[in-house]
Amino acid sequence: MNQDRRDFLVRAGKVLVLTAPAAAYWDALAAGKTEPEEPAYRMADHFWGMIVDIDKCIGCGSCVRACKTENNVPLEPFYFRTWVERYHVESLSEHPEVDSPNGGYNGFPEKYAAGDKAKSFFVPKLCNQCAHSPCTQVCPVGATFESPDGAVLIDQTYCLGCRYCVQACPYGCRFIDPRTNTVDKCNLCYHRITKGLTTACCENCPTGARQLVDLKDPRDPVHEFLRTHKVHVLKPHMATGAKLFYNALDGSVR
């Protein structure tokens, strides 16, 4: 076949122009195949995280109770997707006193006298929804993973119960469910947030100390909040990419 440079350029141009729609169509076809049931929720449009405002937490335990109810967590102590800790810091040079009676499920009975020259505050804890999470890296079977919309999820049907991730989590957020012998932890109420609801803990927090945030939503007040407040994440030196932002976090909190 005789082909001069002009012919070649014209053909190549046509091919190039045609591949873009073909690729887009192929993507749409592939996406349609996997999730035809919920077209309203697009994972690519979201990237979830949470703000915890220490200055607002009153240690009532509503979040702990709501979380256990919503997610069917065993009621015994030590099984928590979220829990609240009380810090009592006498001086920064010593270890703080930390307690969490039943994870804060029943609130916190008064333990310290007013005016004892120590500072005292509550710290709600939960999965930090790390963007580069150590727990997903150690899973040998891919039963835990970072979803494209920023939640760290667990595939209960695929988990072996090997407990590697329980050890890997620097925040102590995972537990083995004694009923299934598989791992469980906060998944940011993924079944709720994908339906347009907020998480059970945020829904039930009476003071607004917890707020679910969508970092990809330009209208979300989180961007303003992160600009105007001094926020911190837990264990930043571990470079986990934690998306649980604490406002007014004390240096004694680990």
Partner: protein, 156 residues
């Protein structure tokens, strides 16, 4: 042909073994790797739908005020505007789906209010807290305070 394979039969046998091994591996892989594995990453894509399919237990305040408009407006007018309905009234997604299926329990105002407002040094200083011994005579808080808009005029 014979000349080509002369003195090379042992290699053919080994190659056959290798080919059989590869075929076995491909078959086993197709059998054991679940559908959708690797679509988004090193996990089963169907797990996302599995997690999403869990039932919702808390309906959310948006669902409550669809019917209970009066209470919703009253709540919005006072200091309890940030408090979700189900924080006091319990998980009521079943009630929201079918009001006759589950009736909400009326909370006990003697104990419920104190889960938040009981004095505690660890609470933020600006949060409204009371010492039960000195603040009230043991009666329910709702005798004086409106639970839905507590900063409005006290009840007579």
């Amino acid at each position: 042909m014979n000349r080509l394979f002369k003195d090379k039969e042992h290699l053919v046998r080994v190659a056959g073994l290798f080919a059989a091994g590869i075929v076995l591996f491909v078959i086993a892989r197709a059998l054991f790797v679940p559908k959708g594995f690797g679509q988004y990453g090193h996990y089963r894509a169907g797990a996302l739908a599995d997690v999403r399919s869990k039932p919702v237990v808390y309906a959310g305040r948006g669902a409550c005020v669809e019917c209970h408009t009066g209470e919703g407006e009253r709540l919005k007018s006072g200091k309890h505007k940030g408090v979700g309905c189900e924080a006091c009234h319990g998980a009521l997604a079943k009630h929201a789906a079918d009001p006759s299926a589950l009736k909400p329990v009326k909370p006990d105002p003697k104990t419920l209010c104190l889960t938040c407002h009981q004095m505690n040094v660890a609470k933020p200083a600006k949060f409204a807290q009371i010492d039960v011994k000195s603040h009230m005579d043991g009666g329910p808080c709702t005798t004086c305070h409106d639970q839905h808009a507590p900063d409005k005029e006290p009840k007579k």
